[in-house]
């Protein structure tokens, strides 16, 4: 047992649901007790999704405990098959089904006999993998399933396209700025003259999967999701992969150079160097910004970075080699892939921290007292407590991290966005600091009077207690209204009863 208040990566089934609900016309059925469908709330809320989230539950209740699911799971699969006509139903195990150890594969086999759609059991174990690992596996599982079948049926199109083309792998629902990143990557590919063969899984249909081998290579922008799929495609179809997150000017250039290499090996004869040079110096503002006079002020400022592998590694390198910022600590919660992280950030930070315990990170931040933090929502709150500004760079995130405006993190526009994020975090910190040194804003007059002062009315202790329960930002108003009411009623003492009578009288 582990005492835990907060987790960075969610349970395995969340990863599976993120993949299945990213595809078009794929339905997931969770084998879970009532109340485990919180994923639907998150997707509907955070992504402001207009459509019903294609996830339902085959509910595990007392009857299931006593007698097993029996026909229930199969019935639910067949029912969804008729109601929604999906291409694929993914049966999704949860922590509960992990310990019930029912033969879910058997249900899938039996459901397949009568269902119009395809049925798969997500191959994830709650106690072995987390959300990110499960997402990676489920994507590979679905891709492999459809390619195996296409191969068997001879419908596989493994002839490469005439012009250079790419599959972009790992773009998912509820992914940190994934939607904007997808658009930015598509633009980047268009600029490079590369056709986008497929974007998987976001917005894709499972029928498109059989065309995956037509692409010249696979691009995996995030370390966490898509790598397994790319490896499978490499082994099976000899499709090369580029797995560099194009985040920041340098990494974007590295990514493009590797794409160039991969294409030229297949006889494309492309030279992207002039493009990189033009984009870096003139199209993007980020590199110029780093050379401008303002950025001098950031030199040697101390920062802490924490997040998932992709974003934390990318930010550490951007801060260190593109902005001259001193990264005193870089960390990740992706413990399962810690070696990769350590290798990535080597030479770009003083210390590496691998942990999924938020108190360890909070303590390290408190001890190091950086000028700014780049982390998740949890680090933002740590920053609030310690009065250190924080830019949010990775999940877990809140609704404000699903902006409506265009905010990619990848490519050249992403580099611009990152510069703004970093710069704004530091200037805010500086302003704060200066305010403190010079004694705050010019406020001679105290604008709000204290609760009990300056009143001809007698606030009784119970009245005051109730008043103090009212949130601070409306307390003044409530106090004024109550006193006004008391005067109107000719009362001199204000009790809790008077306070509530006033509240009602004013209809507030």
């Amino acid at each position: 047992m582990k005492l835990a208040y907060w987790m960075y990566a969610g349970p395995a089934h969340i990863g599976t649901l993120r993949i299945s609900s990213s595809f078009r016309n794929v339905h997931a059925i969770m084998h879970a007790p009532l109340g485990d469908d919180y994923f639907n709330v998150m997707r509907s809320m955070l992504e402001r999704e207009r459509n019903f989230t294609p996830v339902t539950t085959s509910i595990v209740d007392r009857n299931v405990l006593a007698r097993g699911s029996q026909e229930k799971v199969i019935d639910n699969i067949l029912r969804k098959d008729v109601e929604e006509r999906p291409d694929l139903i993914v049966l999704t195990p949860t922590c509960t089904s992990s310990i019930l150890q029912e033969d879910l594969q058997n249900f899938v086999e039996r459901a397949k006999e009568s269902a119009q759609c395809d049925v798969l059991l997500a191959d994830v174990n709650h106690y072995r993998v987390n959300e990110l690992q499960a997402a990676d596996r489920t994507l590979e599982q679905i891709v492999r399933f459809y390619l195996d079948r296409a191969q068997r049926q001879g419908t596989l199109s493994n002839q490469r396209t005439e012009q250079p083309s790419v599959n972009i792998l790992g773009m998912t629902t509820l992914g940190f700025h994934n939607r904007h990143d997808t658009t930015e990557l598509q633009r980047l590919m268009a600029d490079l003259g590369i056709t986008v063969n497929a974007v998987i899984p976001a917005g894709a249909s499972v029928e498109e999967l059989q065309h995956l081998p037509r692409a010249w290579f696979n691009l995996v922008p995030y370390r966490e999701v898509g790598l397994l799929t790319a490896q499978y495609l490499k082994e099976t179809f000899d499709q090369p992969m580029v797995a560099i997150a194009p985040m920041g000017i340098t990494a974007t250039a590295d990514c493009i150079r590797q794409i160039q290499q991969v294409l030229n090996q297949q006889g494309a004869a492309v030279d992207f160097e002039p493009f990189i040079d033009r984009q870096t110096r003139f199209a993007s503002e980020a590199a110029w910004f780093s050379h401008s006079i303002d950025c001098q002020n950031l030199t040697g400022k101390r920062a802490v970075v924490f997040g998932d592998n992709t974003h934390a590694a990318a930010f550490t390198k951007i801060l260190s080699r593109e902005m001259g910022i001193h990264v005193v600590l870089a960390g990740t919660y992706c413990k399962h892939d810690a070696d990769w992280f350590e290798a990535e950030v080597a030479g770009h930070c003083d210390r590496v921290l691998i942990s999924d315990d938020h108190t360890v990170i909070a303590d390290a931040i408190a001890e190091l007292e950086p000028a700014a933090i780049f982390g998740t929502q949890m680090e933002r709150h740590v920053g609030k407590r310690l009065n250190i500004p924080c830019g949010v760079i990775a999940a877990p995130v809140h609704i404000q991290n699903f902006p409506v405006g265009y905010r990619p993190f990848v490519g050249y526009e992403g580099a611009n966005q990152i510069v703004d994020l970093v710069y704004n975090s530091f200037t805010l910190g500086m302003e704060d600091h200066l305010l403190e040194i010079f004694g705050g804003h010019d406020t001679k007059e105290v604008l709000t009077k204290t609760v009990s002062a300056d009143s001809d009315l007698d606030w009784k202790p119970d009245g005051l207690t109730e008043l103090n329960r009212i949130p601070g930002f409306v307390r003044g108003k409530v106090k004024r209204n109550t006193e006004k009411y008391a005067r109107e009623q000719g009362l001199t003492a204000i009790t809790a009863e008077v306070l509530y009578a006033a509240k009602e009288a004013l209809g507030a």
Binding site: M1, K2, L3, A4, Y5, W6, M7, G10, P11, H13, I14, P33, L34, G35, D36, D37, Y38, N40, V41, M42, S44, M45, R48, R50, N51, F52, T53, T56, I59, V60, D61, R62, L65, N76, E83, E84, T94, C95, T96, S98, I99, H126, Y127, N130, M378, H381, K384, P396, K460, P461, D462, T465, E466, R469, A493, T495, A496, Y500, K503, E504
Partner: protein
């Protein structure tokens, strides 16, 4: 699609139970705030933790007095000893937070692996010297607010039968006196609550301002509240003596009511719940009639509240409201909204205890008849998919539903109100009737404000047809 005809008596149906609701462990969110010296330990998995972390939003950053005891593979396969593990964690909690009670919330996983929490608790309690209360608030058995019911039922067993000592008596009385000291001379405050009627316990967790308001309301009738379950602190749990009266504040407390009746030999007063001016009046009148007190000025009080909410009432009049059902507040809210002039074709509800809700159901039926509107169909354990079909056919003016369906319905031109807000808002008593209508009318007022901004359909044709 079945066509809905108006039934002549309340009709009860039961569907598949395939609906969206919160896991009952969510009750820790409001109970840890209500019981100030408590610590809630949820013994479950990452799934439970993920739900709490996301459902509680910003609360999670305020160092809440709750935590997960996250079960690992070794716990599931019994390679680790439950008792030793729980002892280690509870000792740590005692050291870091020093609570007056630790509440263990049993989950689906502890049920399935049959972890004997009720058996372990007394042993550990004796060893570490902190009371441990066990509540099995799991998704196998319960929905959302029923979590509070399991906790309060367990707490009911911990209420003292009599004040154990003079000092203890003094402390408990003081706690109640703090709520009762309004408008009385200091001399009156000194006197212990000497009322003419037998002791009355109110059960159900409500925010402190609501507790004060209801206490004031009852005091106007000369009724003294002897205690609250739960009280502000675990150490202030009320004395519950045999023969005391008890009355519920929330419609989802049937286990607590049963426990008070059977285990504590209380007389539980069955009344409609104090929701809306009609419900508040009926609630007080019922208490008065049981305690043989002639109620004073209630008709005027009710009329005055109706007057004060007339502007909001006009907004909802004649409109149709559909409850998908997820928090067991549905029947009381529907009854109030029908009295406000709304029509209600369907009330979905997770679980319907026809005994505990008897008075409320009777009042719903009477209200529908006196307002001349058809009786709603009551759908227990609803099936959300079927409900969405019925909503599409009925096109109600307002759907009260969970967040999973709210945005998709809005995108299809159906106004919604998030049901969870009724759980967290202050809605009890005369004074808060306006708060309920504030919530109910918000989507209607928003629609008025937005006018015809781009129409009401926000999904592309291809998707709408599914």
């Amino acid at each position: 699609m079945t066509t809905t005809e108006a039934p002549s008596a309340l009709s009860f149906e039961c569907e598949t139970g395939n609906y969206h609701t919160f896991c009952p462990i969510s009750c820790v969110a409001w109970l840890y705030q209500k019981i100030e010296d408590s610590f809630f330990l949820v013994i479950g998995t990452k799934t439970c933790g993920y739900f709490l972390q996301n459902a509680m939003g910003v609360m999670i950053f305020a160092e809440p007095r709750y935590a997960m005891a996250e079960l690992e593979e070794g716990d599931i396969s019994a390679q680790l000893n439950d008792y030793a593990e729980l002892k280690r964690l509870c000792t740590q909690i005692k050291r870091d937070r020093n609570p007056s009670v630790i509440v263990w919330i049993g989950t689906c996983t502890t049920e399935i692996i049959k972890m004997d929490l009720e058996g372990l608790a007394p042993k550990l309690e004796a060893e570490i010297g902190i009371p441990i209360v066990v509540a099995r608030a799991n998704g196998l058995d319960y929905a959302f607010t029923q979590g509070e019911d399991t906790v309060l039922a367990a707490m009911a067993a911990r209420c003292p039968e009599a004040a154990t000592s003079e000092a203890d008596q003094q402390e408990r009385t003081n706690a109640i006196q703090r709520l009762l000291q309004f408008g009385k001379s200091p001399a009156a405050e000194q006197q212990p609550a000497s009322s003419k009627h037998p002791p009355l316990i109110l059960f159900g967790s409500v925010p402190d301002p609501v507790a004060t308001q209801l206490t004031i309301e009852l005091a106007k009738q000369g009724i003294t509240v002897s205690g609250w379950l739960p009280a502000k602190r675990y150490t202030e749990l009320p004395v519950i003596a045999e023969g005391s009266y008890a009355i519920g504040l929330n419609p989802f407390l049937s286990r607590t009511a049963t426990t008070l009746m059977r285990r504590r030999k209380c007389k539980v007063i069955g009344a409609p719940f104090p929701i809306g001016p009609d419900g508040s009046r009926a609630w007080i009148e019922k208490i008065c009639s049981v305690l043989e007190i002639e109620p004073q000025g209630l008709a005027e009080r009710e009329a005055q509240v109706w007057d004060s909410i007339e502007d909001y009432r006009q907004l909802v009049e004649g409109k149709q409201v559909f409850f998908m059902g997820d928090n067991l507040w549905e029947i009381s809210l529907a009854r109030f909204l029908v009295r406000c002039g709304m029509r209600c074709p369907e009330i979905g509800i997770p679980y319907l205890d026809r005994r505990y809700l008897g008075a409320e159901l009777a009042m719903l039926e009477a209200t529908c008849q006196s307002m001349g509107v058809p009786l709603p169909r009551l759908v227990e354990k609803p099936d959300n998919y079927n409900q969405l079909q019925r909503i599409e056919a009925l096109q109600p003016d307002l759907v009260i539903t969970g967040m999973a369906h709210a945005n998709p319905l809005e995108a299809r031109g159906i106004s919604t109100k998030w049901s969870v807000e009724f759980t967290f808002a202050q809605i009890h008593g005369f004074g808060n009737a306006r708060a309920i209508l504030e919530l109910v009318t918000r989507p209607l007022r928003r629609n008025l404000a937005l006018g015809t901004l781009g129409g009401s359909q926000w999904v592309s044709e291809a998707v709408t047809s599914r």
